[in-house]
Point group: C2
Chain length 374, copies 2
């Protein structure tokens, strides 16, 4: 249960640029019980306190804390003692303000709980870590507004860079930020209406290969179930499917295609529809991992053997009967590549935006090699 007293997007809504004269919600500050009387940070000692206790100047403490040279061992010892005694820890908020670098990068993705994005996020984190940066991530839940909200909130926090898995198709709202120096890389889907670094999988090629694979095994009536075509990956995969069909000179019937369908219930209905009717499909191409999972369930209940190729790999896919043939993309490689480009931007090594496409890999495991059952 979520706390009913909290407003939904407090901090973010305080941001002024997006909309003009809508009523603003005052940021809800997170209240905290005053545990000890003291300053706002719950009575935390500052360098000043340490300096006073050690009987040295403020800057000397700073030097010790940061391992800068020019402090006698004796002085250093005294300062260290004071630090330990007071339990001092440097306030990086202040440090950030002063230095102008936050040593943190933001990642806006679709859903952290999706098994595809976990490894991607982890890969970004590892690269960030290697550069001494922390990672802040947020899920857009496929909502363009929420994506923008998140990305701009991250910019307000002055993340040094931003990795975005777009939910929307217009990213002009990031232009001022990029101009102001926020390194930005888009992953998995291209940026909309701005020129920026993009790292993608070869969705078109992968889907084309996958569909061609089914065709090569004798299928002609091949169904396609995918997400909304406004999502780039979905559109590209659909295009790949169509291209393969066209290559084989198979006219695609509308009833074979189901777009914008991703929740289990509707995928199920879509699949069942394709499989009934007078001219049922003999194979299905599933446009993403979630669709694939549901289709597998549907096919498991079918009497007929229907072929299946899915986009995105699944754990255990090899252990099913039959094993699930998939077009696999390397989520970790996507994340790593994007993050590395991000830091190259920050280095100043990288100037012109590029579009990188990572290859996909067809993994045959059985389900895609079933012959048509009609």
């Amino acid at each position: 249960m979520l706390d009913a007293t909290s407003s939904y997007k407090p901090w973010i809504d305080a941001s002024p640029v997006d909309e003009q004269d809508r009523t603003r919600i005052v940021p809800e500050t997170i209240r905290r019980a005053d545990r000890t009387p003291g300053n706002r940070y719950g009575n935390r000692p500052t360098m000043k306190d340490v300096a006073a206790r050690a009987g040295v100047g403020l800057k000397t403490v700073s030097r010790v804390v940061n391992g800068e040279p020019g402090v006698t061992p004796e002085t250093e010892r005294r300062v260290q003692e004071a630090i330990d005694a007071l339990g001092f820890r440097r306030n990086d908020s202040a440090r950030v303000l002063r230095k102008g670098r936050t040593a943190s990068i933001g990642l806006v993705l679709e859903d952290l709980a999706d098994p595809f994005y976990g490894p991607l996020s982890r890969a970004v984190e590892e690269v960030a870590r290697a550069h001494g940066a922390l990672l802040i991530n947020g899920s857009s839940a496929e909502d363009p507004d929420r994506e923008q909200e998140l990305a701009l909130a991250l910019c307000a926090r002055r993340v040094d860079g931003l990795v975005v898995i777009p939910a929307g198709d217009d990213h002009r709202y990031l232009e001022p930020e990029i101009r102001a120096g926020v390194a930005t890389v888009f992953v998995d889907r291209p940026a909309g209406k701005i020129d920026a670094d993009v790292v993608l999988s070869d969705n078109y090629g992968g889907a084309r290969e996958g569909a061609a694979h089914l065709i090569a095994h004798g299928h002609r009536r091949i169904g396609f179930i995918g997400d909304m075509p406004r999502i780039h990956t979905a559109a590209e995969r659909l295009r790949g499917y169509r291209a393969a069909m066209e290559d084989a000179e198979i006219p695609v019937e509308d009833s074979w295609m189901s777009l914008g369908v991703t929740d289990p219930e509707r995928v199920r209905r879509a699949a069942e529809e394709m499989l009934s009717g007078p001219r049922p499909v003999t194979a299905i191409f599933a446009g993403n991992n979630r669709v694939t999972v549901t289709v597998i369930r549907v096919l498991a209940e079918e009497a007929r053997r229907v072929a299946l190729v899915g986009f995105d790999d699944l754990e255990l896919a090899d252990l099913l009967q039959p094993g699930v043939t998939v077009v696999a993309q390397d989520a970790a490689a996507l994340g790593r590549t994007a993050a590395e480009r991000l830091f190259r931007q920050l280095d100043g090594t990288l100037i012109t935006p590029e579009r990188i496409e990572l290859p996909t890999r067809l993994i045959t495991r059985g389900s895609g090699e079933l012959p048509p059952a009609d």
Copy 2:
């Protein structure tokens, strides 16, 4: 490839408290190409700039930006114009410093790429979002030092709260932070040597139920493959397994148990060993999802039908032949519960640390109901 020129843990190593006189690595600042001449934030306008342009005072801009009352519509319009023209965005670093709240919480987990932690992390994020806070997460990779490093780095950034999935078993290093007001909740595993809020699954009860389930189906020689017992969850599950065996008055033989084993190669060997020998096990209890996956693979190659119960649910587990019986825990509920307690701490509603155990659920799908094959 990681940038070879970057030191590994630059920012974190600068933290002074942990160790005494080891050489400190100077934080590597993330360099950035100077895109435009200007201030440190890559020429970002500040409120001062906006004020100058709008011909008003600094504080008036602040008022407009934060939607505070007491600004005439005309003045507000002028300020908004200046904001839009300059592309101003409030610098939350400064705001944080001034307000003493960061509106962000930290999550230290084991591995973001693990399908168990994805949903957990997402659940924490959702709660944080409902409270207007952002989530910073980091992976400890099961390394206690790295856990500490991360947690303290987050504290240095003055996160308002910390959700920790412990890798180590001594968290006294967090005492000064907690005393200083950092709300702290441990999830999935208990805190070591400090008194703190803890949210756990009932690992003991779940494992006991799982093992008892196998016993109830006639098994007596039941193998156990789990992680290092220094990991609390692993130890508890082992304890549950032992308890079930004891309840049934079955003496456990050493060769049935394999502890501290989690990488596929070694799990495979361990399983194969249990299944060979003169008195092979007829069932295996797998101590976590990664172990389960590997055991499934091994069993798929076996001629005999060996029963299996795994701890943690798996996607597609129902579609295997036979379906995999598991003791499921609700990762999202763990995360949600922990995060909610965290914010209750911040509210001041919550004072005394508690230990919460969430129940597990035995899901029978076939593999756990196979009779012994001897």
